[in-house]
Symmetry: C2
Subunit: 413 residues, 2 copies
Amino acid sequence: MISLAELQRRIDAGELSPGAAVAQSLEAIGVQDKTIGAFVCRADHLNAASAGPLRGIAVGIKDIMDTAEFPTEMGSPIYRGYQPRRDAAVVMMLKQAGATIVGKTTTTAFASVDPTPTLNPHNHGHTPGGSSSGSAAAVAAGMIPLALGTQTGGSVIRPASFCGVAAIKPSYRLLPTVGVKCYSWTLDTVGLFAAGVDDVARGLSAMAGRPELLLPPSIPTPRIGVVTQDFAGAPDASGGEALRIATKAAERAGALVWVLDLPEIIAEAWQVHSVIQEFEAHQALAWEYRENYDAMAPLLRAKLDESRGLTPADHDAAIGVASRARHALAKVFEGVDVLLTLSAPGAAPEGLGSTGDARYNRLWTLMGVPCVNVPALTAKGGLPVGVQVIARYGADAAALAAARFVEQALERK
Amino acid sequence: MISLAELQRRIDAGELSPGAAVAQSLEAIGVQDKTIGAFVCRADHLNAASAGPLRGIAVGIKDIMDTAEFPTEMGSPIYRGYQPRRDAAVVMMLKQAGATIVGKTTTTAFASVDPTPTLNPHNHGHTPGGSSSGSAAAVAAGMIPLALGTQTGGSVIRPASFCGVAAIKPSYRLLPTVGVKCYSWTLDTVGLFAAGVDDVARGLSAMAGRPELLLPPSIPTPRIGVVTQDFAGAPDASGGEALRIATKAAERAGALVWVLDLPEIIAEAWQVHSVIQEFEAHQALAWEYRENYDAMAPLLRAKLDESRGLTPADHDAAIGVASRARHALAKVFEGVDVLLTLSAPGAAPEGLGSTGDARYNRLWTLMGVPCVNVPALTAKGGLPVGVQVIARYGADAAALAAARFVEQALERK
């Protein structure tokens, strides 16, 4: 993989020009993407900016984000050839930080669950996960050092886990969703993929103009609450093993680690996530679903067919549960710095028929808290499995620092 | 003005066909709009739906809302001829309820402060207010029974007050903003204009699929806290007089009415509204401001120039103040059903150089609470002045019912 931090170091030192750095990515894409299929469209030639913390950094943008210079097809024939007039806010943030947008990455239709043709770079017989399939795979395959995705259920953390890359789903609205196709306004969150935790922190800090998100020179030792999310069912063997290994590594590295039970209201919030998601999707995708029904992706359409009966009262009740659960979770964080839990049930499932299961991600998206994926082990078939580090709402710097602590602990293992 | 309730009654009774009802609006627009200039574009001929609670209701849509069948120009040359592929979620809600979209109404550029050429139907030498100028004026002039606008500072309640129409800015996210041009995601709220409170309630109830928003057969007598918003400065004579008249009328009609002081944190929230609004606008309008600087409307551009120095820390602090103020306001509502306050400093200012002042509206937009404008008096020059009735977050039905109480009390006066 291409390390963003290492590229920055070489560019700062004058060892590499921004243009040459971007050209390396374009070349890697040219070689790799014929097989992986992570890009929907891309530029053949680009001028790199000469200033900004992300100069020389080639970035892939999930194809539900508006771009003035590339079509934005939403993974759906309904938007074939659609050319937005403007850039999404997060795309402008990247440009203002000096980054170079190299192309658009594959997305399941409207960031839902119908798989894309993208392959998992670690094992071509397996899914890279979804819905941010192309962004996770492009970083994992060493094509680009940074990519943007979005998470409504588990669409950043799960593909990051399946593809063995670091990723952050930041606190709700730390990054704006203006110009990003909406599925659920209560849930949709823009996230970043990169090679390691430091790389992710550098990308997010530069985009948001928040220097406090950079890793501190010395990483503090966190108090870690381990959470198994039993309300979501049992994990696969590889998922459970990843959590055990990460827990042990953190303990050995000196962290205070203990298993934590979450209050009942939090399990209730996990339950109502889909009520909020699908009720809002019926409004957000009303034009697509009602006026382009036949062209809708089949799995998404079936989900919307099934959830047609949801009422405003159902949504109000679910929002009430979520609000009480957020308060309860804030209290949980009075006793720990971060939570450590599963990023996915296990390694990427075989085949391209499914993008995997978001059941260990949904709750945290609804809570709006920052989540960072850290690769923890390589399972059978060369497939990576990650764990996620979660901090309280707004404590994105703490989530990143603790994720770096776990990452280092796993490296030392 | 055209009463939506009366149209519904006649259509239900078979006295009027939906097609004939829509044709009446098209005819009124044809006669009136040459002078008023409320529409940016409109259909010449339309087929009315034959089913749905809003069949036969002609609706005007503020031109920052995406429409698949009309261009969406955002009040700016930057979007000249821009044709969205889809309808905004609220436009689909109207269509699903049977309404007929007759055209797009004028908006200040990106719903900010640069005036449109629209005239106030009550006095052509005065502004209709902004930013939802065309929607307020089109309803006031009797062209259409229903129109959509948006409020980020005071862009629904203020033009409604200046134009003498009823309007609601519902609770934050009661109506989705998907497909509506964003200025500030924390503030932007879709609202409705109609002839009277009952008409507004019928429109909102049908759009949102919430029968509980219809007025009850017998309007309960509310406990009313009168709020003068001294932190926002003193009103004009006509604004102060409107509040006094509405207060007296409500008292005479049997309401418990007393003057209420708001906690200090609420005045602080009023102060920080602009920090949130402009910080977010820099992200939401980054493409327009940075890549189309010369084409930006001058007053908006100057606002953005002035606020360039706002930092993420400023925004975080302002969000913190707003959150504490929302808690304090919830406590205020433990003692009263609704608040009654100024909708605007006074009657619409003379000329078209300014759309008036949003200083009595900002706080409530930031609090996310439902606000209903009720016309209260006619000032010098035939200009209307309104008052606003405000309920706690989520109590839109209570806000509408109490607004109807005040409206009836003023009719009896």
